[in-house]
Symmetry: C2
Subunit: 181 residues, 2 copies
């Protein structure tokens, strides 16, 4: 049911635009009542972002499982590698949603808010490993952005796997930061 | 007039909350018509973010003025130092707005969108210096994050100047990234 509503929403956003689509339209296209829509999603933005909870869960669990003594950014890099199968699994739908999100400020803003929530979750996960507040906040932010950049590069270059793009982006980060001496 | 509208908006958001305040309310409190409101701001979110254009201008100009051959992250760090007087000048009003933004998802999302726009502007400024696309995007994102973290630390610790927090945050970035070897 959730998948049918998400497919209906994507079709409508592509056909007539996000702004001109109501939750009632989405429910009708999926062949259900609006009440059913609201049993699955709080609003018409959330239809695109329900995978977030699973990603947060996977990444925070992975950060906790990294061997003790691993420093924060390497710990995050290891956790992102664990998320690769999930990201790859969602790739087809992510790809179809992407142009709609880019074209719709309301969806872009929600995407940024989800990104920010993930940074907070990663920062908490690092602190649970004993990392102090300030480095936890900095590494969570910078690690998350490096991951996002790896995903962007992978979207533009699917010939190279996401694992390789992740390692490359974190290496680029190290080399760029090394110039700060 | 702009300042009066901004002050009126802040008062109303604090008194009754952002959601229960209309642009008409803000105009009335400032003693002007709603039309005057819309001559200055496109919506009731923008009232809090009009300093953005000035910051973008200052930072992109500063990036362009950094000595040739300076690597991307050091170039950004130098540009952020140039922005310190502007940030300090806006500090009193930023401080009063901050709790309202934190408590209001619509304003938080707009703040994140402004942050993202600044990353794009910095990336463009780096590319104008001859930095390739990929490192420009990565350094703009990571540099902007490090700057934002320095500003957060400074908000929590005003005994230390923003210049010092900036240098410290960029040093923390270098040390954290060095563990990625």
């Amino acid at each position: 049911m959730k998948l049918r509503l998400q497919e209906a929403a994507l079709e409508l956003y592509l056909e007539r635009g996000y702004d001109k689509t109501t939750t009632g339209d989405i429910a009708a296209r999926a062949g259900v009542t609006e009440r059913t829509f609201f049993r699955h999603f709080t609003d018409k933005r959330e239809v695109f972002f329900d995978g977030q909870a699973e990603l947060v869960e996977l990444l925070t669990t992975a950060v906790a499982a990294v061997p003790p003594g691993t420093r924060p950014l390497p710990a995050l890099r290891a956790a992102f590698h664990e998320a690769v199968p999930l990201i790859e699994h969602h790739r087809p739908v992510t790809e179809r949603r992407h142009p709609v999100i880019v074209a719709t400020p309301a969806l872009q803003e929600r995407a940024l808010a989800k990104h920010a929530a993930l940074v907070t979750a990663l920062s908490d996960a690092l602190r649970a490993r004993g990392v102090a507040d300030q480095p936890a906040a900095l590494c969570a932010q910078v690690g998350m952005d490096t991951y996002a950049i790896a995903v962007q590069r992978w979207a533009a270059d699917r010939g190279t796997g996401l694992h390789t793009h992740l390692d490359q982006a974190f290496t680029d980060l190290r080399l760029a930061a090394n110039a700060l001496k």
